[in-house]
């Protein structure tokens, strides 16, 4: 049976169909979950997609984390279920306390929309399983608040525990230690600013996102 991937839709999300397309393109089933849903409808993994959930009012993710679906996501994540937050989804996961740190305004205050080269730093996460560390992937970024920030103790922990999942080759936004993506201690929750779902077909200029989506599908089938 193919994996069933839940894609959370908040008012203001705008990348959910890209995620659905990427997931379905690789033979899995995608289920869009409305932010007011109180359960995950039997999904094997959850993606929180990019966009501007609740208009990014107050701070990106600050209001989204209180949407009813997030209580279910929290339970699922703490039970070991694979959860990936992309871009705005990463911001939501940090606000929800499922990932450490915060995403600040980009250094230089530029809204970035460009391909970025990232290096996979660990294959021990639900999004990079089976991808050899050191592999360079070309994945687009599209954000204003992608400047990953955390205190020194958290940064030391992330490094020591091999929890930096992706690093930029050329830091576009001022993120500490060139961090593009991190995972939680159990390695089943991953947040990243680049958009692998937008790099899943040669027509899009890169299919380097495919190994990541494939890794997520594998994690969903076999957590």
């Amino acid at each position: 049976m193919s994996a069933r991937i839940g894609v959370v839709l908040f008012p203001g999300s705008n990348c959910e169909q890209d995620v659905v397309e990427a997931v379905v393109g690789l033979g899995a089933h995608a289920e869009v979950l409305w932010h007011r849903d109180e359960d995950l409808k039997g999904c094997d993994a959850v993606v929180i997609p990019g966009g501007f959930a609740h208009g990014d009012y107050l701070r990106p993710g600050a209001i989204a984390r209180f949407s009813p679906v997030m209580a279910a996501v929290d339970r699922f994540a703490r039970g070991g279920g694979p959860v990936v937050g992309i871009c705005n989804g990463f911001q939501v996961l940090t606000e929800a306390g499922l990932l450490p740190g915060a995403l600040q305004k980009n250094a230089g205050l530029k809204f970035l929309c460009a391909p970025a080269e990232v290096r996979v730093e660990t294959s021990d996460s639900v999004l990079t399983r089976g991808i050899e560390p050191g592999r360079i992937l070309r994945i687009p970024v599209n954000h204003f608040e992608g400047n990953y920030t955390c205190d020194e103790r958290t940064l030391a922990e992330l490094r020591d525990e091999d929890r930096v999942v992706l690093r930029y080759l050329e830091n576009p936004n001022g993120s500490v230690d060139d961090i593009a993506g991190v995972c939680n201690e159990q390695r089943n929750v991953v947040g990243l600013m680049p958009h692998p779902e937008r790099a899943c077909h040669p027509l899009l200029g890169s299919s380097d996102g495919v190994p990541m989506v494939r890794a997520l599908l594998a994690s969903a089938s076999n957590p």
Binding site: L58, Q104, K105, N106, L109, T149
Partner: protein, 89 residues
């Protein structure tokens, strides 16, 4: 009692402030030299009904911790005072 509340949300010391830095760079070009240490924050105002000032402060601080500020990067400074007039009927 009714309180008029002002919450100033600002970036914690040591956290880079790209917005403040940009404003700081712009000021000299407008003929305002000598400005340093610009920090840009948020100002949130509201009214609150609470039994007394301590209760009001405790409630606002809880709001800041859980919602109004992100403690990873922001501090919140709360000021409040009883509103003089009775609430509108």
């Amino acid at each position: 009692m009714r309180f008029s509340v002002h919450v100033e949300v600002r970036l914690r010391e040591g956290i880079a402030d790209p917005e403040g830095a940009t404003v700081e760079r712009a000021l000299p070009t407008l003929g305002f030299p000598g400005v340093s240490g610009v920090r840009v924050g948020k100002s949130i105002r509201f009214e609150l009904e609470a039994p007394d000032e301590d209760a009001a402060r405790a409630e606002v601080e809880d709001m800041c911790r859980r919602f109004l500020a992100n403690p990873v990067i922001e501090d919140a400074v709360v000021s409040l005072e009883p509103t003089a007039a009775a609430p509108p009927a």
